[in-house]
Structures are given as structure tokens and as C-alpha cells.
Symmetry: C2
Subunit: 382 residues, 2 copies
């Protein structure tokens, strides 16, 4: 009954890849961008808008959901899909990244991470075993190994230490996931991905990738990027890391990124992305359009009655004028954040669809050059 | 080409009235509830949701819109309807109420009100003539005379002074509106309403009503209620005031109210209402349902997977569980405010539709008793 988790590489164009991931909850067309539904909602969007935007899969955050409303509670209520009204696939992160960026008074040991909730100070422990247990309670279709993600720049030996620890946690995550499967807590339509760490150091990345490939995960993420190293260093590291990964498994670049980041990463062979940028930047007044990113707070839009983006497939981008959205954002109105989060989420899905189309037609490089020329403006970090 | 403004009283049931207001932008079925679109948006709702809820007419706030984005700017952009994508009728208040509740360092003279913006401290003057000019620039289908609305309780002579001043401002508002019509700033499909003042004093209310009726407005509002006097005093004042108004003109009770307020006011013969309660209470976590008002922050909803309101005509009330909305509200997520503002806006429209149906079938009193028994819970003020 349950579809087995599988990845099918349909075609390539240079290093860029067109594929499909099959899960028991449906097919994910790759390259794919996953909107982020941190606390069981993609911020300021109705689930129907996310679906209609063309998203095949969402991301949920283990750290946030374990604290509120709690993994056991979500399990009692029928799982995350039912809870948030999203019947497509969901990927959950392991909590590793956020426990370190948001949690307080943390202590990292071989066992895991002890921390206090940023919400109420309550004490918690995340370990590879507990992370997988939570991801299974949530019912995530794609789960991530527990890892330690450090900020860059960092000393090489610190990067190496975290990478080695993450490898040991990868082993434990894998055993925990297999135990869940054996006990009925996960099924064959779900999968656990390993995460390559190693900062911007090619040798560390290669060691991490080789060890994970030995463990034979059904998919591999590249973690620990977009954490302060900049676009060029990120793309360079990616170019050195991806060749160490098998071509018959999906590759997921975590927490990335700008439209330019996505284009350059797909060019190198990345299949999956997630990022809060479309919604976070939307809330802060930035619109991603086919004419570049626009800061809707700019006074030049105050009397511009042209639509936000007449080239968008998003009804909101065609219906609402720049002048109106400028007014809404300046006034701090919900509808401004709602419209821009919607427009940006659709833009990101349209961008991925355009990349898939370009790869299918063997003209990715040409498409990428044209598109980058159009999307020259990158929004300032809000 | 332009439909003339008109009111048609279709039938009555006791004092309750079923009617239709015709404007050049469409018909308003009465009794009608007008969602409040303070700064050119009904908070946390897409305009399509407001329309689909069954609202025939919206309210816009002169005070807010004159300050941001500015009436002249909206006029240059084609008027308020085009600006906010609402092609049905719009009623604007005169700015009188809000200039006194929100504006700073105000000075009230015979001429009008001098005040400073609550946004940036800029200095402005509102007078009957300027208020009408602004309402015409916005393109409001129903406009309100400029008035002085004072807080209750107040000394009788203070209530009388404000009522008398409001009558003189009514005359000036009417002359200004007629001048606008003569100059092409307004047309026959638009109308100006007078506002009865006088606090909770029946004699003052009668004097105010009689003077306004002498001026022959196409509609009359009852202002200066729901400003601290309580439900019973409001209903008592309404019962004394409405008989002084002609039966062939619409009656509009400003800024009211709870579902119970609406039912009791319709029973006495009110045709139109506006209130921020559906959206404001929604943002604060309150749901109006056919089983009473629910405070969605209450922990008892944390694992209640039943829909918000299975009797609602709002898809959001049937699709989303109480447990999920509880989580969203507790987490301060946009979607919580979006869902509850939507559900409540639909509830208010459904309530008005049910009242119209009950009047049409001559069973308003019976319907009101049944409905009040169901809607026993009134939400605490957030």
C-alpha cells in the first residue's frame, strides 16, 4: 500500500538535475523549494495558497514544534499533516540548527544537547534518538539526522570536531530511525537523510561525505552553509562537496537562499532547498518579482498603480498595485505581509518550475544567464 | 446612468425592518453590517473574503485615510474603491469620532477641530467642509456629517453643547455636500447622512433628531452610543430615539456592536451597523460561533480537533480545528488572526442574513429569542 521512498533522476543538463522523489504522500518534483512552516504554518499564508503556489513539500521545525504544541500532543492529534491541514509530504529538520541558534544555556555533550526553551525557560534534551522520535511522532516523510551546525567563520579544529560529532550522531540517527521502522513508528515511504558538515574546508567536507555515503542514506543534505560565509564561498564549497555525493540520491542544500543562490546551486546539481526568505522578506516589505526584488517601503511606489508583478502567476501580484502594497506595508497592516508572503512564495515556486523546464529542455545555462540578468537586485537583509 | 441613492422598505416585523439601499455601486440589503476597513483594508482579510462573506458595503475611516496615504493621493490614484480593490459601496465616517479619540492637542472651535496626527505629529484641521471634501475625494457612496462625539458619562450641558454644535455642523456639511454635487465632486448615487447626538438624554436626542429631520437627510445615524454607557442604556436610548426618525429613511447605529447589541437594535428598527469587533476580537483570539463566543487561548481547546464552528458558512470555520487555532493564537501566528478575523466576519454577515430572513418570514421575535439563548457568551473585552 505504502509507496516506497525513491528518487528518480529523469535527466541532467550539465550538472543540473531534473528528478522526482516519491514518498507515500506524493511526488516531489526536483529541483524543489520547500516553503518553511516553522510552527505548523507557513507564515501569513493559508495552506491552500501554498499548495496552489505549486509547492510539493513543506518544511517543519522540530525545535519549535517540540516546544509548542509538543510532539506527543501532535501525535495524539493525528500527526502534523492533519494538524496543519497539509496532506503533501513534509520534511522536518532535526532541531540541531535551531537548538543552537535559539535555545538558551545549552550544553553539548556526546549524548546530545541540553537546552532551555526560548519560550518559557523549560529544560529539554535533544539527542539523535530523541530527534528521530520527535520526527516520527510528527509523521515527517523526510527526516534529518541530528547534527551540530556551527557558525562560520570558525577554527578548523572546531569545524572538524563538530563534523566528526555529527558523523557519530548520523550513525545513531540511522539506528534510531531503523528501530522506529522496525517498531512501526516509521514506514517504507519515509526516509532519513544524512547531513554533510565541514564548514568551507574541502577536505573536511569530503571526509564527511565519504563517511555518510558509507552509511548509505537515501538522501544527503549539505548543512552548515549560508551561516555567514557569503555567496561565493558557499557556491565554491558546494562545488567541491557535491561530487563526493552519489548521483542517484537527492541532494538538499539546507536553509538557502536568494534566487541567485538557488540558480547557482541548481547549476551545480542541488535538488532541494528550504528558506524563510520568501515569507520573512515579505513580512518586512520586500517583493521578489521577475523584474528584481523591490523594497515596497520605498516612497517611489507611493503613487505607482501598476501591479506588483504582471509576469507572476500569483493572482495577488497581478491584482494589487504597488501603491496599495506600499501603503499597507507603511501602515503595518496584516494584508501587506499576507500579499507579499504570497507573492514571494509563488515567485520561488515559479522560479523552480522555470529551472525544471530549462533543464528538461537542455538550456539551463542559457536560461540562468537570462534570468540572472533580470533578477539583478538582491534585497538587503531586512 | 448613475442610479439615484434610494431606500426601499420592503417589510416590517414589529419594529424590525427589511429593506434595500440603492447606490450607484450596488444594492445594500438591510439590516446590514459593514465590516470596518480603517486604513483601506479590513484587517487580516483579503477583499475577496469580505465580499464572499456576504458584505454589501464596507466602512472606511476619514481620519486614518486623510493622514495616510492622504485623501488627495487616493483621489489621484482613482479613488478608494480602486485603491483597495472593493467595487461595492463604501461608507466613510466624518473623522469626528477618531480625531477626538486618537488625535493629539486638539482644539475644538465653531470652525472645526485642529489636531496633530497620532502618526507623526503633523498639524491638521477638520471642519464640516474639509470632512466632506475628503469624503468626496475618497469617493464614498455614503458620507457622514461632521460631528462632535463625546465620551459618556458627561454633564448634561456638555452633551447639549456638543449636540447643538453637531447640528450647526450638520447644516454646513449638507451645504458642502450640495456644493460638491453642483461642482461634480459628488453625484446623485451618493448620499450624506445626518447624525443624531444627545447622549442618553431622551429630550436632547429628540431635539437633535427633529432638527436633522427638518434638514431632510436621505439617512440618519445614531451617534454617540457604545461609548461607555453600557448595553441597557444604549438600547433604552435607541428605543427613545428611533421613533423620532422617519420610517422611510435608513437608520444607522454607529460603532455597534456585539451580536446581542445587533439583535436588540434590529428589533428596535436599526438598518445599518459597523464595528471593529469581528476583526479586532479575532486578532485577540476570540471566535464568534453559533455556539457562543470562544476564547481560543483557553487551554481546554489544546487537544480539541473539532472544527471551530461546524454551523458556520465560513470554510475556515469548518476546515480548521480548535486545537490548531489555539496553537496559532498562542504562538502569535498571522494565520490565527487571519482565520478568526475571517470566521468572525462571516459570522456577523450570517447573523445579518438570518435576521433579514426572520423579518421576511415575520418571525423575528421568535428567532431572536432562540438565537440569544444559543449565543449566551459575550466575549470579554480583549
Amino acid at each position: 500500500m505504502t509507496e516506497h521512498f525513491a528518487f528518480h533522476l529523469k535527466t541532467t543538463d550539465g550538472l543540473a538535475r531534473l528528478g522526482e522523489i516519491t514518498t507515500s504522500r506524493g511526488v516531489i518534483r526536483t529541483p524543489a523549494f520547500m516553503p518553511v512552516g516553522t510552527v505548523a504554518t507557513v507564515k501569513a499564508l493559508y495552506p491552500d495558497q501554498v499548495r496552489d503556489a505549486g509547492a510539493d513539500i513543506l518544511l517543519g521545525n522540530t525545535y519549535h514544534l517540540m516546544l509548542r504544541p509538543g510532539a506527543e500532543r501532535i501525535a495524539r492529534l493525528g500527526g502534523l499533516h492533519k494538524f496543519m491541514r497539509w496532506d503533501g509530504p513534509i520534511l522536518t529538520d532535526s532541531g540541531g540548527f535551531q537548538v543552537m541558534s535559539l535555545g538558551k544555556i545549552r550544553k553539548i555533550t556526546e549524548e546530545g544537547v541540553a537546552f532551555q526553551s526560548h519560550l518559557d525557560g523549560s529544560r529539554h534534551m535533544l539527542s539523535p534518538e530523541r530527534s528521530i522520535e520527535i520526527q516520527c511522532l510528527l509523521g515527517a516523510d523526510i527526516q534529518m539526522q541530528f547534527d551540530e551546525c556551527i557558525e562560520l567563520p570558525a577554527e578548523r579544529r572546531e569545524v572538524e570536531r563538530a563534523m566528526e560529532l555529527s558523523l557519530r550522531w548520523a550513525e545513531r540517527s540511522k539506528r534510531a530511525f531503523e528501530a522506529q521502522r522496525a517498531a512501526g513508528g516509521a514506514h517504507a515511504g519515509q526516509a532519513l537523510f544524512g547531513i554533510v558538515q565541514g564548514g568551507t574546508d574541502a577536505e573536511l567536507r569530503h571526509r564527511s561525505a565519504a563517511a555518510l555515503v558509507d552509511m548509505d542514506f537515501p538522501g544527503y543534505a549539505v548543512g552548515g552553509l549560508a551561516v555567514g560565509e557569503g555567496h561565493e564561498a558557499m557556491i565554491a564549497t558546494l562545488g567541491q562537496t557535491l561530487p563526493a555525493l552519489p548521483t542517484d540520491k537527492p541532494r538538499y542544500l539546507m536553509g538557502v537562499g536568494t534566487p541567485l543562490d538557488l540558480i547557482e546551486s541548481v547549476r551545480l546539481g542541488v535538488d532541494m532547498f528550504d528558506c524563510v526568505m520568501p515569507t520573512r522578506n515579505g513580512r518586512h516589505g520586500y517583493a521578489f518579482t521577475w523584474n528584481g526584488a523591490l523594497n515596497m517601503r520605498n516612497a517611489k511606489f507611493a503613487e505607482d498603480m501598476s501591479p506588483l508583478d504582471e509576469l507572476s502567476s500569483c493572482p495577488g501580484a497581478r491584482d494589487y498595485s504597488k501603491a496599495y502594497v506600499h501603503h499597507l506595508i507603511k501602515s503595518g497592516e496584516f494584508l501587506g505581509a499576507m500579499i507579499l508572503s504570497w507573492v514571494n512564495t509563488v515567485f520561488y515556486q515559479d522560479l523552480m518550475a522555470a529551472m525544471r523546464d530549462a533543464i528538461a529542455h537542455g538550456r539551463f545555462a542559457e536560461w540562468a544567464d537570462e534570468t540572472k540578468a533580470r533578477i539583478t537586485k538582491r534585497p538587503a537583509a531586512p
